[in-house]
Amino acid sequence: MNNSERPTARKSGLVVQEVPDEVLVYDLESNKAHCLNQSAAMIWKSCDGNNSVSEIAKLVETQAGEKITEDFVWLAIDQLSENNLLEQQVASNFQGQSRRDVIKKIGLASMVAIPVIASLVAPQSALAAASCACNNPQQCGNPPNSQCPSTINCTVLGVCAAA
């Protein structure tokens, strides 16, 4: 396991909204939204390009007041990387174990909630509010249909599905 890896949290092209116990992230490039629980958010914030995985584990341990293993940090980094929330992709490093096995192992041993990054899906009400009126996909997203949330699923009925 390469615990000297120093991941860097991505900053550009993201809209970040902190709420109690969670951090919400909107990726402007992929138009995807994520919800990071407290553990995942703490680890993400500690990814400054200077801290190694071992150091991140210690930092989070101090904040959480509980023992944090490097597997715990890797579990978060694996998801952060998968969701393109790190500057550079980091290969998962579970020493041959599956993510499921690692979750099971950490879940039994840790008093702190395991890091979770969940996807947020646009509710129907949001899509309805952002509906447009296009005759063909070329018109999607362009004036006067600038409000189209999609450039591929724009329909003649003026309803757009998320891209």
Partner: protein, 337 residues
């Protein structure tokens, strides 16, 4: 009982509104007017937030970034826009009641319009801006007066300019009526603007600066919010008048709310013959609300037929032009495909 209590109580779910029986919606008049409704730092409010609300918070922040960028881009060219509808309407909504909006509606003076339009077409920071040349049919107050009434409010790290609440209420009412009153959810914009109006809101600045006919539009729209959304009329100087809504008006909104088909530009449905026929049928006879507004008529109990005929006569040539352009665009697009 407040609009919120009436509308968002246990088990009453309406499109565009998240029902949450575990939460009491704060709605006391004036409390929410000066700051944005969603207090994200209030832990008690957000502990049990739904995914829909989380999505709303994110998209709101994204929209605010776009609005600030648009203001910065226009101000860099010495153009001062006024933000209307969308975010400005959402400011009146209570905590935990999302008010989604798509594009950014910005109005600029007629003198700045051409310059602003060319910027909107080229500047990346202005993508998604719906530019208005002053307020055209949406209001009759002259731009200078609207601008001097307008105010700057905080958004993120910047200040953006919005209309005075009295002016904005008129604009929202007329915009809603221009769409034939078919957007039931948008009637909430009017209900919350009245319900959560600031203490210093001056009804004479809202209603006595326009013609009697336009005054009847505003009063009737507030009356509709009272009738269908239980907006309280208590203390309003026109409370009795607002309860006397013409029958044709209630019939018209109820008919359009019951219909699954929304009024769209007839040119927007050319690729689907069934939809096209539906849209033609929707216009026969023309929507009496749109016709009355189109003719600057009065909302009273007199028959609408005169307005509807004038409306049809006035729209037929522009509609044919738009239809012709849409057919050409569609043909050109299909050839390049």
């Amino acid at each position: 009982m407040s609009v919120n209590d009436q509308l968002h109580g246990p088990g009453r779910l309406r499109s565009g509104v998240i029902a949450d029986s575990s939460f009491n919606f704060p709605s006391s008049r004036g409390n929410l007017c000066c700051s944005f409704a969603l207090d994200v730092h209030n832990e008690n409010n957000l502990r049990s937030m739904t995914d829909d609300l989380k999505w709303y918070l994110l998209t709101l922040k994204k929209a605010e970034r776009n609005i600030v960028a648009a203001f910065q881009a226009l101000r860099s060219e010495a153009i001062e826009p006024i933000l209307i509808k969308g975010w400005a309407a959402a400011r009146n909504y209570p905590d935990r009641v999302p008010r989604y909006f798509g594009d950014t509606d910005l109005a600029v003076s007629a003198a700045d319009y051409a310059k602003a339009k060319s910027l909107v077409e080229t500047h990346p920071g202005l993508r998604g801006v719906d530019l208005h040349r002053e307020l055209r049919h949406l209001d009759t107050l002259d731009w200078d007066r609207l601008f001097s009434n307008s105010k700057l409010v905080n958004m993120d790290v910047a200040h953006v300019r919005i209309l005075a609440p009295e002016d904005h209420l008129r604009v929202m009412c007329v915009h809603w009526l221009t769409n034939g009153g078919e957007h039931r959810d948008r009637l909430f914009d009017i209900a919350y603007a009245v319900e959560n109006r600031p203490e210093e809101f001056d009804w004479s600045k809202c209603l006595d600066v326009i013609s009697g006919n336009r005054r009847s539009w505003i009063v009737s729209t507030i009356g509709l919010a009272h009738r269908y959304l239980d907006l309280s009329l208590e203390g309003l100087p026109f409370a009795h008048e607002a309860t006397e809504i013409p029958d044709w008006l209630t019939r018209s909104v109820e008919r359009s709310w019951a219909s699954e088909s929304r009024l769209r530009g007839i040119d927007e449905s050319i690729t689907d013959p069934r939809l096209f026929l539906h849209q033609v049928r929707n216009r026969l006879p023309p929507n009496p609300i749109q016709s009355t507004v189109f003719c600057e008529g009065k909302f009273d109990n007199s028959p609408r037929i005169g307005y509807q005929l004038r409306d049809m006569a006035g729209r037929i040539v522009p509609s044919i032009r738009r239809l012709r352009k849409a057919v050409i665009d569609q043909y050109q697009w299909s050839r390049t495909k």
